[in-house]
Amino acid sequence: MAPVGDVGALLDGFAAAAQPQFLLYALIGVFLGTAVGVLPGIGPAMAIALLLPLTYTLEPQAALIVFAGIYYGGMYGGSTTSILLNTPGESASIITALEGNRMARAGRGAAALATAAIGSFVAGTIATVLLTLLAPTVARLAVRLGPADYFALIVVAFVTVGALLGSSVPRGLVSLGAGLFLGLVGTDTLTGQQRFTLGLPSFADGIDVVIVAVGLFAVGEALHTATRMRHGPVRVIPVTGSWRTWLTGDDLRRSWRPWLRGAAIGFPIGSIPAGGADVATFLSYSAERRLSRRKEEFGHGAIEGVAGPEAANNAAAAGVLVPLLTLGLPTTATAAVILVAFQAYGIQPGPQLFGSEGPLVWALIASLYIGNVMLLVLNLPLIGLWVKVLQIPRHYLYAGILLFAALGSYALNFLVADVVVLLAIGALGLLMRRYGYPVAPLVVALILGPMAEEQLRRELAISQGDLTSLVTSPFAAAAYLLLVGLVVASLWLRRRQRRAEAELAALLDEAPRPVPTS
């Protein structure tokens, strides 16, 4: 439990975040985040990466508050897109959103949007409370961790993000290795030797993580879409009725338990380094389906299948902030981009953060609460605006994404060379997406790789080359045991997921499929 001092610090954080100009920044953040999140093809990671350059002129506190808003707002916007857009994607994370899409097609889009929004608010708030209680305690414990312990944690993150999450283990590992390689490029911090810089001065300081993130997420996504673009008019499912009457009493009765269960599933999964929201949404979806007395509705628009996963998704997003803020470990691509944003201001998340930058962190956490409330108030009434955003013609949308990606990387140092690197990374992102290599491991490895090497070398210097010292610390040993447990659990999960997907596919085949308009 959090000592009393933390409550006082949180209240101070609220006092800071509630200043009018910071409230305005939070509002700008959630608005931008939702708008960009609503745009198809742009996830929260890409939203933050694209908007990163815009914040360089803000002071750190204001910028972090904007990012907190973008982070939560991007999540909200994404669910709106998958519910209202008549083109369900194919990736597993969208399986759950399919349920909302079915509801919308059955004329219940308003209820789907409402249960997603309120569920996100409820679960997001619960998870933020848990973050508030847990993070300072974790940070206090983390101060005692040695290099071997950190190395163990990073190895756990590598294996879960690289090998356990995607559909193909070898491809995840290739992506991980490519990220580790890009992390090697530059000057070795311990000996000052240049590594893999090809003698080019622009690589001497390493490859800028912002460029890699924008290249993979924005340029890679735009190029990938260009290879197989869906042509024809954008079909948005109309939403009828006033937003005040969207959720009936019956909907509410069916929704509140899934919201709470989603929060309970999402937060722990987000906060262990085992890979973010996809797993949480999937687990919540299958839990709701198993517990429901109306199993026959699943696959045809069951409100529980929207309420639970949307809640789990947001709770996991808050959970991801626990290892990020207290250990400095990003466990998802989005968290990795947020870490970059911190570092751009010379702030290093980790156990020291709550001590050295206390007021800043508490203001950030306070603004998460505030942003959640703003999102709930903003989103339902503004749905008409988001529908308009959804209808942006795709050729202009992707042209705009490329333009702002190019602007962002050029504005870093005003070097055309950076834009060349951006295009090269974008081409890599295209090939990876096209041939089934997940991009998240690359971004996570790019950031954690240099940290892993540093901790490893530090530990071996302390122990004078004794490799057993890597596993003899109790914490490190526990982390490796956890890893073994995770591998076993994921093998089991993978079997279950395959079965669930097969059942879902069977359900979908019964229902009419969307007709391609090209």
Binding site: I95, H224, A399, A461
Partner: protein, 187 residues
């Protein structure tokens, strides 16, 4: 993130996952080559005498070996017919053939943009990138994209100059505009 698609489309859509996996093979071999390069390149890193137990070479060697092993597994999987699943998305049509021509046009617009930034100015280079991409992706009539791109570019350039105090390259034409050339009024 990418994961297995729930099921193959029931309609026999033309998919580029049929036929020989040339593209996949090239990418996997590229990963293998990168791994080998990393291992070999590691031995070219100078090790100063001050280096402690673990020098600057060991970690790169490990990374290279990981890449070689993982790429080997992908290649072995390909040999047994295990293909990668292209990532889906709201605007990605899973049922069409790869349109590499469009992609090449978009890349060409991007290359033109970065070559032109410092020659004609950022706003005009922006018009080239935006217009070229929009046209390649199907925007008609052809002039609307570049026009929108130019307006967007000028607005961005103005916001950067007036709001953020940052000067994007104005190019010869806008160099005469005091706000945009970074030299202040009358400069």
């Amino acid at each position: 993130m990418s994961s297995a698609a729930p099921a193959p489309s029931p309609a026999p859509a033309p998919s580029s996952n049929e036929g020989r996996p040339v593209g996949e093979l090239v990418v996997a071999l590229g990963a293998l080559a990168l791994g080998l390069y990393t291992v070999v390149g590691s031995f070219g890193i100078a090790v100063p005498s001050s280096a402690s137990v673990m020098g600057p070479r060991a970690f790169p060697v490990a990374v290279g070996l990981l890449l070689v092993a993982a790429a080997g597994l992908v290649l072995a999987g390909l040999a047994r017919g295990r293909r990668g699943e292209a990532e889906g998305g709201e605007d990605v049509d899973p049922g069409v053939r790869d349109d590499w021509r469009t992609t090449a046009l978009v890349v060409a617009a991007f290359v033109a943009h970065l070559a032109l930034i410092e020659v004609v100015g950022w706003a005009f280079a922006a018009a080239v990138l935006f217009g070229g991409t929009a046209w390649a992706l199907g925007a008609r009539p052809w002039w609307r994209g570049p026009l929108l791109g130019l307006v967007l570019g000028l607005v961005v350039q103005l916001v950067f100059a007036a709001g953020l105090g940052v000067t994007l390259p104005p190019g010869p034409l806008l160099d005469l505009v005091p706000v945009l050339n970074g030299r202040g009024p009358g400069g």
